[in-house]
Amino acid sequence: MDTTTSIDDRLTGIAEAAPTTSGRAGWAGLAERVLPPAAIGLVALFAWEAVVRLKAIPPYLLPGPLLIGGTLLKDWHTLYPSLLVTLTVTGAALLVATVAGTAIAILFAQWHWVERSFFPYAVILQVTPVVAIAPLIIIWVKNIQLSLLICAWIVAFFPVVSNTTLGLNSTDHHLLELFDLYGASRRQVLWYLRLPSALPYFFGGLRISGGLALIGAVVAEFVAGTGGAQSGLAYRILEAGYTLQIPRMFAALLLVSITGVAIFLALSALSHLVLRRWHESARAREQ
């Protein structure tokens, strides 16, 4: 009796089970998502180029997209090293923000008095415009690279801290009770329950932090404004502005935007890779 009913249930279970292979319509879905924005972009670029040409707007006021693209290729030898400089600061800041942010979030979640004591200051650090404190940091810290990194870190760390803290505190309370039932230690609760529960929140924060680290790095470079060998993209924009090389200014700007998008896509892909087996955010919608 028991075995037959359970087999029946298993069969209905299989029928009810959600499809695990959802990648069939992958290419069609991708085209559906990519084509409309690509079309809009092309139309906008075409209109831009047309206006610039028809109205004969001089390049020092507004260069057309073709000229900007050409400048990007022509000046690649100066822009590329600058891109690497900015990327290094951004990457280092994001790395430190992730590690430190996660560590701080764990401290917050483990001891609520720590959260109560320090969270307001994390908020203050977050809401203070980095433009306003960057000059101070640049004065205090001798090493320019390090001061840039600190500025970018200040901007980038908050989303990781606040999201991860929220995630660590959002654990299913029944699961917490289950762990309690088996006498789990704090470390076991953290490792087996709180950290995995917090992963989707963490990645949500990380995606925001990635963009913010880049913004922080660029803003700090603007404030620092120094020349020398180690000049990032912001410096190229400033320099081009001073010398009225507007197409190069746009090319550098374009490079900053592309970098930001690339960081966002890379972090989204990482998030999807980690969460795809179980989290709703990575679940393909059933048609």
């Binding site: 009913t5 087999i7 039932l181 006498g183 076991q188 087996y192 329950l193 995995p196 087996r277 679940r283």
Partner: protein, 254 residues
Amino acid sequence: MTAAPPLVRLRHVDKTFARGTEALRHLDLTVAEGEFLSLLGPSGCGKSTALRLIAGLAGLTAGAIERPWAEGGRGGQMGFVFQEPTLMPWATVAANIQVPLTLLRVPRDQAAARVREAIGLVGLDGFERAYPRELSGGMKMRVSIARALATRPRLLLMDEPFAALDEITRMRLNNDLLGLWRRQGLTVVFVTHSVYESVYLSSRVAVMTPRPGRVAAEVTIETPYPRDDAFRTSPEYNNYCRTVSARLAAAMSG
């Protein structure tokens, strides 16, 4: 019936929550070894609270709970099944079932054997590596039961485990649960608000009053096991349902 020594005894248990809600007042209840006891009552009558007190998940305000075999109560002697399956969505079926064993630091190979055994008991062979979201509601509940059984507990506490399932799945799980209970020699305390479910499953039904809850009446269901779907349509079953309903109605009106 009362010859077996009580596995759990609640003496004059009171429970008042921090916000002042009085959930239980003077609850007296014994659980005999090997019985299938249902706690039946309207929602909010404190039956879930009583179950959580037995599990040691909450402290009592006054009175005493005796269960000397599980003193300290953290060794996996008791299994608990919640109303929701309460699975970890990031872990496979096997990993979810293994959690209690990991927490109790059971050696790896022994734990793997226990997990296989528990999966077999609930009829989920072949689904070891599935993730919870790939399972139906009934299958998730099976995983939850397997997890509770993985430590080979003496006492299985179940808090309205099938309330959210459809009728057909619930009947199947009822039958499978009875099979498990008999084969494994378990003691089960089962919280429900369904008269029909309590009569079908239990060897004894304890009817509770509305809040503050206490046991108003106890009905022993003498029908021998194994019980199957024929029992659901028998006059005997109807009589028991009528008796229990009457006791419940009396308890409700005080």
